[in-house]
Symmetry: C2
Amino acid sequence: MNYMVIQNKRTFIIVGHKATTSPNFSLEDIPGTSGRLDILCRAVTAAFVLSHGIRKDVCVYLVLLGGEIPKTIQLRGETLRHLNPDERTTAALLKKALAVPAAPQWALSTSGIFVRSGGLVELLADLKDARMIYLREDGADIRTLDAGGHCCETAFILGDHTGMTPDEESLIEHAGAKVVSLGPTSLHADHCVVLINWLLDTNVFMPE
Amino acid sequence: MNYMVIQNKRTFIIVGHKATTSPNFSLEDIPGTSGRLDILCRAVTAAFVLSHGIRKDVCVYLVLLGGEIPKTIQLRGETLRHLNPDERTTAALLKKALAVPAAPQWALSTSGIFVRSGGLVELLADLKDARMIYLREDGADIRTLDAGGHCCETAFILGDHTGMTPDEESLIEHAGAKVVSLGPTSLHADHCVVLINWLLDTNVFMPE
């Protein structure tokens, strides 16, 4: 199957540098057996779950670099099913997705979850028409971002606990990403996602 | 042992209406066996974990009402140990605390974690000198809060997925709590905690 990459209102890209591309990790010890897939699980729930529902206008890409070849998992709010707020349920959904044979085209796992081979290079090429925002502590204050007419085509790029490599930094820069910051305190990826959702919800982005 | 309740810079009170007061829940199915203790676990990590460390200036009280008698667990950032960002590790720490016999005085579990019998009535009495802020969707915009000289004595009260009962609302009102809101979107308690920490970090509270 091949699914077009359609721009959602809110797109989050989270890069897991050690995150496993294999389903052979233990749900009893996610941090210790999956290359910190727990970080990505929490980013997924932060992106989607509301107190009573799922954000339909969100799309998340998890770039998993802890295998022989990279894989990317895509989660789309408008059709996403079976996502609960707890970490283990999310990990179980990702486990299922990683059991699907990954080719360069998107393949469906469970409802709203797709997987393919390929990493950041391929994803940034797909999203070349989107406005890219890269979160890094030394960036410009996120509250100075222009939310204007671009908001339907914005993708936020976040790293995991290891930060981006120089090659990735270069790729992201080449993609024209604007570097913005949520402040001097270094936060976990899921907390950054919570904050971005809220900033978008409450329209505090100001004109540049 | 008896520990004085010392006001921290940031205090969060999270009420778990169905949350178990027994250690006999399964770490393999936290949401299904613990009365949604998973909600409180995520609130704890949201309150404390930074990308590279623990917030020392935070204190969290978990009010557990899903047993025969209520219990309260206190977590204090300045001495808290063994807290990892994942949900299961936090649940394991709470499990240990719930295995400690609970009396009306605080008893130490693992470093930085204390437990006692008693619920919201006792806690609000202990914190009677603090400025109380109660988070509810229909409250005043949180960004209009005066962060001024009171910030060392502010306690934020949050509910779980079931909301507060009329009796609890009345107790909280009687404690002089100001009702504030993070916006019209109903968010999970842990997401609210992330936002409050960030608002305090970035000093966006404005004078009233």
